[in-house]
Subunit: 338 residues, 2 copies
């Protein structure tokens, strides 16, 4: 179909190996400059496109990165995927994207199939804390974690500075006069949920506020789950005037719960989310939330994995934390005197 090195070589009356060397940026310096030009021109003219299966077979590098996402339909992830794609493709790499639905079995399965595809490395966005295959996998592949860090193994990661993000949320509420602030926390098995809950407790403590009985965790990142949990939390203590959700879905579920309890947001209760997913500016009420730089998380992760692929230098394990910012909208308001 498409022209091969051999075709170019024949046309030019030179050896295929020379053509290969001339076309490969890493070896073209070994070739006579005139030959290089000649070869490049011929290659362009015959629109030669290198066959990645052939070179991959020879070099055992697929120029392919496995990207493991819990669920692409969660609006948090497409932005990160975009960042990954753009940066990887600029470097000649192709991301292979898969979903796990937060199911460890499914994750094992997709990782195996990416591994069968001979990916050169992994970017993992799955946030389970106890991660059976992580230790094993990280011995055999370059890995970058995104949107989470690892508890056990020391691995490169790119995530938001959760402590900072939660602090922004809590201090925003504090500044509005709120003192009884609750937290609808993420699932305990989730790395981000865990981190944000810890950050919440610490920040509250720093302000001399108690969190006893004001933290409840969902068992899945869904609006419905959050609604149930928030319903119980809010009914248990009517003095709660503000809630920090561990992500936007949880904040949305909390808004729904408040509404069911006839507590108006933000009039009676202020609610803050986390992530700033698309359309959070037009929900009812517009959600005050902590914006994490999704695109940058993705592109930074791509850069980290690429840097691991040039193995000349053993890079130290980089754990990047990107700084989130608070976006103030309509779901938070000053505490009203009662």
């Amino acid at each position: 179909m498409s022209a091969t090195l051999k075709d170019i070589a024949k046309k030019l009356g030179i050896h295929p190996a020379t053509v290969s060397r001339a076309l490969n940026p890493r070896t073209s310096h070994l070739v006579n400059a005139a030959t290089v030009t000649k070869v490049r021109k011929a290659a362009a003219a015959m629109d030669y496109v290198p066959n990645p299966m052939a070179s991959g077979l020879r070099t055992s590098r697929s120029h392919t990165i496995g990207v493991v996402i819990p669920d692409l339909t969660n609006p948090l992830f497409p932005g990160m995927v975009r960042g990954i794609q753009d940066t990887l493709s600029r470097a000649g790499y192709t991301p292979l994207l898969v979903n796990t639905d937060n199911d460890p079995d499914e994750e094992a399965h997709v990782v195996a199939s990416l591994s069968a595809r001979r990916v050169d490395g992994f970017i993992l966005a799955t946030a389970r804390r106890d991660h059976p295959l992580l230790a094993d996998l990280s011995e055999r592949y370059p890995i970058v974690l995104i949107n989470r860090v690892s508890d056990s193994v020391q691995l490169p990661s790119v995530a938001a500075d959760e402590q900072h993000g939660i602090r922004l949320a809590v201090e925003h509420l504090y500044g509005l006069g709120h003192r009884t602030i609750a937290h609808v926390a993420g699932p305990p098995w989730s790395s981000t949920g865990h981190e944000r809950a810890q950050a919440f407790a610490r920040t509250m403590r720093d302000h001399g506020l108690s969190t006893a009985k004001h933290v409840a965790a969902v068992d899945g990142w869904s609006i419905d789950s959050a609604r149930d949990v928030a319903l119980r939390l809010l009914s248990s203590d009517p003095s709660i005037t503000a809630v920090v959700g561990a992500n936007d879905q949880l904040a949305l579920g909390t808004i729904a719960a408040a509404r069911a309890l006839k507590r108006r947001c933000p009039r009676d209760i202020s609610i803050v989310g986390y992530n700033d997913m698309p359309f959070m500016d037009i929900v009812d009420p517009p959600l005050t939330t902590v914006r994490v730089p999704q695109n940058e998380i993705g592109s930074e992760a791509a850069r980290l994995i690429l840097s691991q692929l040039v193995e000349d230098v053993v890079t130290p394990v980089k754990q990047v934390r990107l700084t989130p910012e608070l976006v103030i909208r309509g779901s938070t308001a000053p505490l009203r005197a009662r």
Copy 2:
């Protein structure tokens, strides 16, 4: 690293070719049943994983499908991508996903790079009507269009039944008593925008309603663009009591415009969207919209492309239309007497 056919052959004292035949479902019937069992067991024991680069090089099939999406961060697409992924991966194929940002140059570029990766076919979700490379590409690759059909070339496609969807929207409004119904149409260069505008005109005509001066097209599928267009449309004719947006973003922009003009939705004006993206149930007001089965569009497209890859039979060009349904929420209400 991982075991090869040769390793298994050596261990079993048979020839690699026999191992290959035994392991390949399409040729295993040529091999002694006992040998097959023996080989399978050995392969499992040595956890043999076939090398796709090697087999791809030999067969010139990558078992890979290029999936070209305008923008993954548009919530319309992740659902379709999920459907594609699930169905393809079940068949042993891997989707290679790329974005184009609706930019024809970028599209040419990503198609070229997928082509360089030797994809076995394409699923295209880009909705430009004048599609320079479509004719050419379709001669060299199996192709399935999703979320659109082709104007010129006759190509397999999977899309919503736009006529039906728009009819649902218009008749819902008609049933609520609305007679002066406007359409904020998609960009003229877009296939879906064009189709839906035509469907709108036809349905209105069927009901004896005029559309003159009540259709305006955006130049991009964005909320902001729709807001501007709707602002002009609604101010130009205050008798408009209902609007059909060509997609959810356009409906949201129209809601914003109505709000800016102090016309309350749904009290003063009813607005219907199209697609039912995630979270359209919790925007303000909850959006009445036409739901298209995103997942099914994706999985059906995957099935179509797979069927083209078994070239034994020349399948007739299938143009699948999936039936959308109306989801009634808070953005539409009965016409009020004035």
